[in-house]
């Protein structure tokens, strides 16, 4: 039961979805549509599971007085408060002027965009400390990077009018060729792995103790 049922479920679902892509018969399409509608709902539950797991982990750490435990209280309170406000607002929770929208704009949006913007500083620091040109390949990489960085911004046309054109050509020809090679290679890998998972050859998710 523990090993066989998940294998049967994934095999049946996978084969149905694969066949449904090619066969337009109503019987097949009904199963094809139903399975995907179910997956949309199950994936939504995984977000709730993630929140529950987060709560469990942090409440454990608060209880044990683990490192930085006072911050975990802020995390738990923030999560519960957001949910309380959201459910209290009802189906119009994202309308202008609601508490939930205020939380989104003030906390979520501000902090999400700031977290990502930190990367600008680190990329500048890494350019100085880690970008070393020691081989022909690294030199090619550096030249391409320079052409792109300068050619894609307005200052490139001031430095030399050929820079923007060089950047465009680089992207449309050599870069395109390599990226296409990577795309096709990855496609073959994804298809092979997909078949392995559907046919039950790849079973890491179903192994004992592998929750």
């Amino acid at each position: 039961m523990k090993r066989e049922v998940p294998l049967i479920i994934s095999m049946a679902a996978g084969i149905f979805v694969l066949i449904g892509f090619f066969v337009p018969h109503p019987l097949v399409r009904t199963g094809y549509d139903k399975i995907q509608q179910w997956v949309i709902v199950v994936v939504a539950f995984t977000y709730v599971l993630g929140m529950a797991n987060l709560m469990k982990l942090n409440l454990d750490q608060i209880q044990r007085r683990a490192k930085d435990w006072p911050y975990k209280i802020a995390l738990v309170v923030a999560c519960l408060a957001t949910m309380a406000v959201g459910f209290q607002n009802g189906s119009h929770y994202l309308d202008d002027g609601t508490g939930f929208t205020w939380i989104y704009n003030t906390f979520y949006s501000a902090m999400s965009s700031t977290m990502f913007s930190l990367l600008a500083f680190f990329i500048a620091s890494a350019a100085f400390r880690a970008f070393r040109v020691r081989t022909v390949e690294a030199l090619l990489l550096a030249i391409a990077a320079f052409i792109l960085m300068l050619g894609r911004v307005p200052i490139g046309s001031l430095i030399h009018p050929v820079l923007p054109q060089a950047a465009d050509w680089l992207m449309e020809v050599p870069q395109n060729a390599a990226k296409r090679g990577i795309l096709m290679g990855a496609a073959l890998g994804v298809m092979a792995t997909g078949f392995r998972i559907i046919l039950g050859i790849e079973r890491t998710y179903g192994s004992e103790g592998g929750s």
Partner: protein, 277 residues
């Protein structure tokens, strides 16, 4: 201590300060370097929307969240402005959890500008979890996949959704995307299967991987990052946040290029003794 040794020991916080100033100062002073010139990919994006007849329906996928707002929001805004100026109906969906409020903001802001009515000229169907499964299911039935709009109103009661069953009724797919799920998945699940014309506005990080799709004709136009957004703003004659940011962008790029050069110069003396061995 030689200058190279001093450079090698440079505290990275000085670099942080420099990059911060190079962004703040041009914005504050209004320092302007050079105009933005639209390229062929932004032109392709523009032309694809120009080809959509008035009254047709476009699917606008705003698959990004506040993490990439600086790149995606300006292109989202410009695209909605372009679509509404051409009296094209918009059905908006988001596959990123943080997307719905941003789509609402753009649609309401531009909707007021062009006197468009929610429900009649545009609708935000909101977020749906499931990534590729959502895209695939929309090919079977958009109303079953999205039974209600973002605020819970059944789609059967929304005039702009009348007659919209699947991708056959969609004239163009406009994807504003930050990563997964996004442009790549729309190309794989929708363009390849249902042959819906598609254009994409993506973050600069992901832009290089979409050039093969552009060259193969799977995409009609591509906006890459803030630079792409700025080019499109120029084309729709509504310069905004992206255009304003390009001067700071230029200076920062020069700085990064210099940092790479200086870093390699600083490392030179350390390699010399190894070379002599």
């Amino acid at each position: 201590m030689s200058i190279f040794a001093s450079l090698a020991k440079l505290d990275r916080r000085w670099i942080f300060l420099a990059i911060g100033l190079l962004v703040v100062v041009p914005l504050l002073t209004g320092f302007h370097i050079a105009p933005v010139r639209p390229g062929s990919r932004a032109q392709g994006f523009y032309d694809a929307i120009e080809k959509v007849p008035a009254g047709a329906t476009v699917l606008l996928a705003g698959d990004y969240d506040p993490g990439t707002i600086a790149e995606n929001y300006p292109m989202h805004l410009a695209a909605v402005r372009h679509l509404m100026s051409r009296n094209v109906k918009i059905v908006a969906v988001e596959l990123y959890p943080g997307g719905p409020p941003l789509a609402d903001r753009v649609l309401h802001l531009v909707g007021e500008e062009f006197h468009k009515r929610e429900g009649y000229d545009y609708v935000n169907l909101g977020f749906k979890s499931g990534n590729e499964a959502v895209m695939s299911q929309m090919g079977s039935s958009i109303p079953i996949t999205f039974p209600a709009d973002r605020s819970g109103k059944p789609v059967g009661r929304i005039p702009v959704m009348k007659g919209i069953e699947n991708f056959s009724q969609i004239a163009l797919l406009v994807s504003i995307s930050a990563g997964y799920p996004g442009t790549k998945e729309w190309v794989q699940q929708v363009v390849s299967r249902y042959h819906v014309p598609m254009v994409a506005g993506v973050t600069a990080v992901s832009a290089p991987e979409y050039y093969p799709y552009l060259q193969a004709g799977q995409l009609q136009g591509l906006l890459g990052g803030m630079a792409g957004a700025a080019e499109y703003e120029v084309l729709v004659k509504a310069p905004g946040l992206a255009t304003r940011g390009m001067d700071a962008q230029s200076l920062a790029h020069i700085f990064i290029a210099l940092m790479i050069l200086l870093g390699n110069l600083a490392a030179l003396p350390q390699r010399a003794p190894a070379g002599r061995k």
